[in-house]
Amino acid sequence: MGRVVADPTRRTVLKMAWGAVTVAVTPIPAMGWGRGRSPEPLAAQPGGWSGGPGEARYRIDGLAKVLGHKIYARDFRSRDMPGWPDNERVAMVLHAAHTDRILERYDLSMLPDELRPMRTVDAADLARDQVADLFPDTSPKGWPPGFLAATGQQPLYLGQPVAILIFESADVYRRAHRLLQFRDDVVRYGSPVPPRPIEGPYPSPNYLTYVDGEFSRVKDGPTDPFDPKTPEDRQAVEWRAEIRSGLIDWRTDSGSRSTQRIVPMFMEPESGLGWLNGHTLRMVLGTQAPNGDVQDGLQLFAAEGCPIRVDEVELVSCYPGGGFGGRDVSPFTPTLMLAAAYADGPVRMAYDRFAQFQVGLTQIPARFEVELAGDDEHRFQALVSTVRMTAGGKNNYSQFVADLAGYSAGGAYFFPRAIVDASAEPSPDVVAGSMRGFGGVQAAFALETMVENYALSQRIDPIELRRRNALKEGDRTITGAPLTEPMRIAEICERAAANPLWVEREARARREENDGKLYGVGFALANQAYGTGSDGVMASLALEQDGSIVARTTAVDMGQGSATGLALAPARWLGSNASNIEMGRVAIFSALQLSTTASTGDAPTHRKHAPHDFADSPWDDPHYTASLSMSSSACITAFQQFHAVSQAASVLFEIGVWPAAVRIWGVDPGPRARRSARWYDGELCVDDLAPLPLPLLAREIYERDGIAEAMVHAYFAGAWVEASYEVEELRGRWPIDGLATRNARSTDFLWRRRSDVKPPPPGSKNYGRSLYSPSGTLVALTVDPGTAAVELLDIHTYLDAGKVHQPDLVSGQYQGGAAMGVGYALLEDATHGPDGPGGGRWNLNRYHVPLATDLPLDRIRLELLPPVGEHPTGKGIAEAVLCPIAPAIANALTAATGGSFPKLPITTADIREALRS
């Protein structure tokens, strides 16, 4: 892996696409294997990671991880970076631990002279230098802006940075940190003040009104029944009144549910390097959104009067040591950028775990009011659900999370009528943003425990109730989005109902009772969406002269295995896996010349389109796409990112490899032969023509300067956008909306004009989501009636993962999801307020994540539904496998104790209470 900086031509295009400052994201330098050690070619070991085509013997990043190589941002020091000076400074951040009193000052007088910081950066410095706030429009309404907390004001939220202290060296930092940590007299506060007023939720709450065949978001557009201004708003008001008045005709059950705040607790506390060298900002980071995070942070220096000038950013994107959503739009990146801007050279910033707890993004707790209505046949007729999420002091994806909680409120069931309100409300607590599940996990707990209650109250078998109401292909979701793929929810219910755990549960309960234990089996479904509903992905695939394949992608592997999975994607088209994959790449994709701004005609004016606005045919502009790329999350690998790499391989096969084969054969066997061509043992085989190994084809391509690299962009919203392309004399049509190619002897890409575009389906901008990975989990457990201790015995999950690209990665994701679900259900709870993580004194001694002993390791089982359809695709499953775990545990506890468990986490006290009542 080499250090690559985009050439000026590409940067020009990048400016158009991504803003005013160029950002070149590059892979980890290959020198970082520790002092005195030589680089080792990780992917080229004899019998290395790659198995047969489409198979992996182990993770492509595995060797580096078992050898302790430098691959995480925390591993790097400035001395490790080519061209960086060795004299690295170290930054420490003071954070606000109170918001209910005035911030008076920060006091470093307890430090002896030799441990004083070389430089401090606080709100006064930022004001003087006109350093802007970051996303001021994400602050609660009426609250003042401010990235750093200002003296004389109450801090905006717990964990808000107060000051950045820059120390001369790691040794000075460590000794000073030791003296400053946990002291109440460092950040000084004045008298108590009232909390800042909360003037409503973050914009804009998600209001769904659905009446099958009559009214929906997809059919009638987004509506606001609480501030009706349009005819559609008023219709929504009327439909809601009708739904509510009709509830009396049905069998109803209602209840409240609540979920707690949890933290991602990825293992590597956020860390990085920054160096503002002239006007070039160099950074080393491990983030889920390398380009996005840096571009966002550059807002800090955007004011005209700001003396800090950044013309370009060179970012080394490292493997994050876990993510789970907590490294997406994290405040760490802009804080490090500030440190770099004010330091006199390279600066390292590395949170310790206390700081990570205090400032790291958290999951958003939620409160639900749910009412279910069904007919005498126990078919659901209506859902009324209100979701209120308590976010932190910034709208950091917070409302987007609430949006998905709203879309997920109907879960795996068909509701012919629905009223759903989902909002995220500000609070002065730690910023709460995305985390694994992204609203779906909270919604699954609320709905699935309510459905269980409904079944018990109506005296119907809980799985049968679920099966009877399962969404199926052809139904519509509560947004009105059509379900156009097989929905195998009923099949999951049928399989679960036949599982011995379920069939024999009463007999087993009797046996356990004889042993003094209470036994229960619970079931829960989830129909977790994957993707964002508007997904842009990019990939490039190069055939090297020796026949090896290199893939480049914007995706980041936080551990979910996307580097490995995506390296398998070329096999179908090229007969071999990629031997190397470069993750987190951004700059090279400027060659696609795409923008979310559509141009009208030849005039240089640009018309701004809302991201989902397909009006006025912006797709007629060959440079337009609705979404360039998105932050990496585990759930977009198997379908979206895999599609991009696979399509790049498909294009490369058709316009590079096949023409080379035809030249070698000396005869063109025709398009039918091309479509039926197959690879066997690395050789391209067509009818009775001579089999051609890929290295031979590569040699032909390089000798004739044929096309050796294909770069694609693809966009999905309800369907993949399709387009036709002409490449020399070849014409092809692929499910991609952008294409560039590179000839073998060239370093430049040629942009390829698209035509005959098939845009996304009408209405898809309002689908909310349209891709789902249904899952269902059975949990068996015992409760000790004396101690209320819970022992998990079995966790058995059914999952429609579609086509599985790499079985070990899928089951590994599941096992981790099951563990996280156990923590969510029974262990994890980040207290609100200054006594919680935001106070700065939390660590793993207070926040308990599951240990191996908390889990039934040998009985965590995954049963994958065999894929159906002619060309099944992979599905994003990282969140799907998490969502049903906690409600299944709660339902199992209900079965064991007879009690109800409406809130998470379920504590020993809750179980005792259930046993008492």
Binding site: L42, Y72, D352
Partner: protein, 174 residues
Amino acid sequence: MRDSIQRVQLTVNGVRHEAEVSTTTRLVDFLQDELGLTGTKFCCGIGVCRACTVASRNAPEAPRVPMLSCSTPVAAVDGYEIDTVEGLGSAEDLSPLQRAFLEHFSFQCGYCTPGFLMAATLLIERLQNDPVAEDEIDAAIAEACGEHICRCTGYVRYYEAMRAVIQATPGATK
């Protein structure tokens, strides 16, 4: 602990080092900042998660035992032999556990992997001197690694790999 400067010598992965260190400098910081050995991971810093586990012994003939490098001052290991994940094997010559962790897809983000590797390596060394019955393997693993935290994997594949290596190690089981 009072902050002062102390001269220490220790052997890390077979290489002898001498340095003047602050008495409050943690072993993990010394390994990372002074020796460039960042394979040993910092996570909680208070000895709970065990991602920072290294092997240590204070005499050449003593058995190696796990040490939490995040909560051990380097000044406290003056004269010790310390071994880290970088000393376990190479790409060409992986240890059985490294190979098993790869083949079982044991880890995901991999940040906790060095800690598991070191603890499991020491477990196997111990079992070779004090073998357990086949049905005691899981308990032995739990005792050695049950407190190690992994956030990605649910531990299943770590345990499968460790079990397989123990079963295949001559003398580790009765």
